[in-house]
């Protein structure tokens, strides 16, 4: 499979916030007026009613043509320990979670820090579908049609300063709505982080949906990270804090077992987990007798990301 390399991130022209909000409001009211006339009164309600996704374009450069997993597989087989440790727990225990309204606190080494509404961060006109492979550290994988925008698009808006070397993300902490957080499975809230170069890579996505609809709670509603060349645990869900910093952030799985889960956590068939092999993976949905398949370096995204780790000892920085 060959993926064409794009050398530029389309630069986002920063619009002043008030103009930007006005424009969004206008576009929203226009699209609502044309599609939601029968519901008359509901249009002025919170953004949950109209959803985050109205339209999106398909990005074929970064999308795989492999067969997609079914919506059912993607939304009933999850690791999201905030809702419990079983694979079906997130599906079964996430009904009480409220993904709207949603604010995200931006802090640290950036000019535009503060609390933002999700609508101010996600430019709904820039939404794209990206069909990515997802490789879990537990040696299973899926193919998921995400809807989202490049993280770079958001970061440019926030104007990180020269001290910002890393960007850290936090999952919302709501033990009332997230039963797993009432137990000390991990140290809550969940934290993940990327280097700035990783965060700005065009593959890195903030997803708000999949299969053309808003993310369900078990998939990390309303916004989550998707870093397809890293093990799934890096792709943090239900993000409500983004922090720019100079030193390497302490991340949840790394704190839980630093010899097993590194900061980078790049998919690498040559570096095994201390307790199991990473050389092969089971593609979910391949049928009962489907054979395991070899795991690819950087999950098959070498062309896009290998340059980020040039000269690095990937056994040491796993």
């Amino acid at each position: 499979m060959s993926i064409k390399k794009s050398n530029t991130i389309k630069s986002y022209e920063i619009t002043s916030e008030s103009i930007y909000l006005e424009r969004r409001k206008l576009i929203k009211s226009m699209s609502i007026a044309s599609t939601m006339i029968p519901w008359g009164m509901t249009w002025s309600q919170s953004s949950k009613e109209d959803g985050y996704i109205s339209a999106y374009k398909r990005n074929s450069i970064y999308s795989t043509s492999e067969p997609k997993n079914s919506f059912e597989d993607i939304t009933t087989y999850n690791n999201f320990y905030e809702f419990g440790m079983g694979k079906s727990d997130p599906y079964q225990n996430s009904a009480n979670f409220e993904p709207a309204p949603w604010n995200v606190k931006i802090s640290g080494e950036a000019n535009k820090t503060g609390v933002y509404n999700i609508d101010d961060l996600i430019d709904s006109n820039a939404l794209e579908e990206r069909i990515y492979r997802l490789r879990c550290v537990e040696a299973w994988s899926m193919v998921i049609p995400w809807i989202g925008i490049p993280l770079a698009n958001i970061i440019e808006k926030l104007e990180p300063n020269s001290k910002a070397k890393y960007v850290a993300f936090e999952t919302v902490y709501r033990p009332n709505e997230m039963p797993g957080q009432r137990k000390r499975i991990l140290k809550w809230p969940y934290i993940e982080a990327l280097t700035m170069a990783e965060a700005m890579n065009p593959l890195t996505l903030i997803a708000v949906g999949l299969y053309g609809q808003d993310l369900l709670n078990q998939s990390g509603a309303p916004m989550r990270l998707v870093v397809p060349w890293k093990y799934g645990f890096k792709s943090i869900k239900s993000i409500n804090k983004i922090h720019f910093q100079e030193s390497q952030p302490k991340t949840s799985w790394n704190m839980a077992a630093s010899n097993e889960y590194g900061f980078y956590a790049n998919v690498n068939p040559e570096v095994d987990h201390p307790r199991w092999s990473q050389s092969r993976e089971r593609r979910i949905g391949n049928g009962f007798f489907g054979a395991k398949q070899p795991t690819l370096m950087f999950n098959g995204y070498q062309d896009e990301v290998a340059h980020l780790y040039q000269g690095m000892n990937l056994r040491k920085y796993f």
Binding site: D73, W140, G285
Partner: protein, 198 residues
Amino acid sequence: MQYMVKVFTLISLIPFIILSLKGFGFLPVFGFFSDLGANPIETIIHTTGKWGIRILILTLLIAPIGYYTKHELCKRLPKPLGLVSLFYILNHFLSYALIDQGGDIKVIIVDIIETPYLIVGWAGFLCLLSVGLVSLKKLQTWFNKNRSTISGIVYTAAVLGVWHYYWQTKVIEVEPVLLSILMLLLTGWKFITSKKKS
């Protein structure tokens, strides 16, 4: 009495029956729980493994209970329950070897070497299998003569089984911790009582 033994044995097979019904799609009434989920082979391996070790430890628990209550059932139950446990573990192993790894011996050997908890599980499985084989009718006298060796092997199998379970969890989980504590108590009790006898 024989009737009660049959009842308990049948009860211990219920998880397997449910698993089979799900596998063949005969449980349509339970909605989401009606099939084996997105990763059916994982469901089978985990379910058979968990019930195998649970029933094995239950089998070992019968000894101290019988020691204090002197109940007749406690003499008769260990063997059928132990065999049910072996049945689960055999399914556990075969579904791993034949389905998950596609029955490729080379692949299985490499996988076992690369995955430390599999070595432990494999050893435990061999222990249990050897006891299961000598319990066959033809070897009955040998089985009855060497009871202490046999219970030693069963204990070893249980310790390895719990270890195998504990070692693969990503974070500390309740069940493997509980089973480990139970195994520690059981081994301690066995040690003390066998010293008393000699």
